[in-house]
Subunit: 294 residues, 2 copies
């Protein structure tokens, strides 16, 4: 089968054999925001058309491709859900290349105050990592919109989203904070740790943000360290608010996973990175459970 | 004398008589960011040149005009400070119109963690409001960078800054949050209150931000209410983190003062608006204390 992780800003495709092994892969900066409405089928043909052969049984996709701005809106499934529930809710779209194409649903839940929360794509990563996670786990998926997900008996029970990565981006690029800095790179561990520690003092994120500026203004932190300090403050606030029960399994890009494991340790919370590529593995599991692989 | 409140984005000038009464005023969108270096004297002439007469003794200015990006950088005075300390630290600049021109210093302090904090302009407003505030007060000055200031024995003891207004602006204009909304106006009290209440649940500001999107996405809050809800969340987080000892005196623009008093009440903290125009009153008091009025 072919697994496609199609998000807001990137397109990642994998050829997966019948045993779930990845035998080829490709990626492109063709996230859904770069594709005109009605052009999704054509883009898919361009990207994976050359892979189609007699062994290709079906294409399974997940991520923002199933959102209102994507190919077809696939309704959110309310938690708790398991693999079979997700597999049954996959929606088929039309493609003119003789293979069936399905989009996995996103998930929704409500937090303690009844406010809705949503994910698209992360559920597939968790399904793909479930053997390594074990039946019960707490998973952090850091990123633009970081997720904390509770897994019990191999089911996704509930989750919370934190707008951490996006807040970092807009504050750095559009507020006064980035003006004193000279790099957006988060590569100064000492400043990052100082930010994580700062998040614990109870004076509030909005005060801590201003301190990034004042420390820069007073020359007490070099311009090259301010982005790292800001990142540590934001991730520290996220972790302390999420207060996940330990140990936390962290799934994501290597750079972020390293930063988060560092921040978790700083907050006294044991964590471990999850290896591998859970998205294609999850799509393979969903495809198999759906019965659409022939 | 002439009092000038010259900030980042606006210029406000007042003719003040010897008893501190305002006898004329003008304002322009000529904040320091809109003035080229070296042009401050010329802009001042254009704006207040017509006011100069035999009664004009001196010009006193405060705000970002005294910053590194302003006419002349006037060093921050470390707290605690009183009126006389500020008056003595005013810096004179050259102006070719036969009147002395002074810039009041900003203030600095360090928070409980030793991180520096700064203000420019708010100290003048507090000096101007001191008779109404009384010798001991807690003052909130809401805005782009909201301030909480402690006053004891008519001295400014210390303060904290929260980047609330600027965070609202960049999140609304540049993040995913503004995309679902159809107005930046904060004019829905019910949604604002819901945001203030939301800030109390301990799940963290970064999670609450994402909830603005998900409530909009689920159609549980109309697009026209999302900015009010976001504003309530941010102001609620600011107030709960600042946790000012009651009662709080609120100084600022009428629209913001109303919102803040509403939010304080919602958080169970008594507050009251401070009437009048404290900036010119403060500059008049500083000018008098400086001995420069002849």
């Amino acid at each position: 089968m072919i697994a496609v992780d199609w998000g807001t800003s990137s397109f990642r495709a994998y050829r997966v054999d019948t045993d779930g092994r990845i035998i080829d892969r490709r990626s492109a900066a063709r996230g859904i925001l770069s594709v005109a409405p009605g052009e999704f089928a054509a883009v898919l043909s361009e990207e994976i058309g050359a892979w189609l052969d007699h062994e290709t049984s079906a294409v399974f996709m997940s991520g923002m491709i199933g959102s209102r701005q994507g190919w077809k809106e696939v309704p959110y499934l309310p938690c708790p859900v398991d693999l079979d529930t997700i597999a049954r809710a996959c929606a088929e779209v039309d493609w003119d290349r003789g293979r069936r194409v399905f989009i996995a649903p996103g998930l929704s839940c409500r937090d303690a105050q009844g406010v809705p929360d949503v994910m698209r794509g992360e559920e597939t990563q968790i399904i793909g990592a479930i053997d390594e996670l074990g039946p019960d786990a707490v998973v952090c998926l850091p990123g633009t919109h970081s997720k904390y997900v509770r897994v019990r008996d191999r089911r996704i029970v509930d989750f919370t989203t934190h707008m951490t990565g996006e807040a970092f981006g807009v504050l750095w690029r559009h507020s006064i904070l980035g003006r004193l800095g000279d790099t957006e790179a988060v590569d100064d561990d000492t400043a990052f740790d100082a930010g994580v520690d700062r998040s614990a003092d109870g004076q509030g994120l909005l005060h801590h943000l201003f301190g990034v500026r004042s420390r820069g203004l007073f020359g007490e932190m070099p311009a090259s360290s301010l982005a790292s300090y800001l990142s540590g403050i934001l991730i520290g606030h996220e972790i302390r608010a999420a207060a996940p029960p330990a140990p936390v399994a962290v799934i994501g890009e290597a750079v972020l996973v390293r930063l988060y494991c560092r921040a978790f340790a700083r907050c006294g919370i044991p964590s471990r990175p999850v290896a591998g590529e859970p998205a294609p593995r999850g799509l393979w599991a969903i495809a198999r459970a759906s019965g659409a692989l022939t």
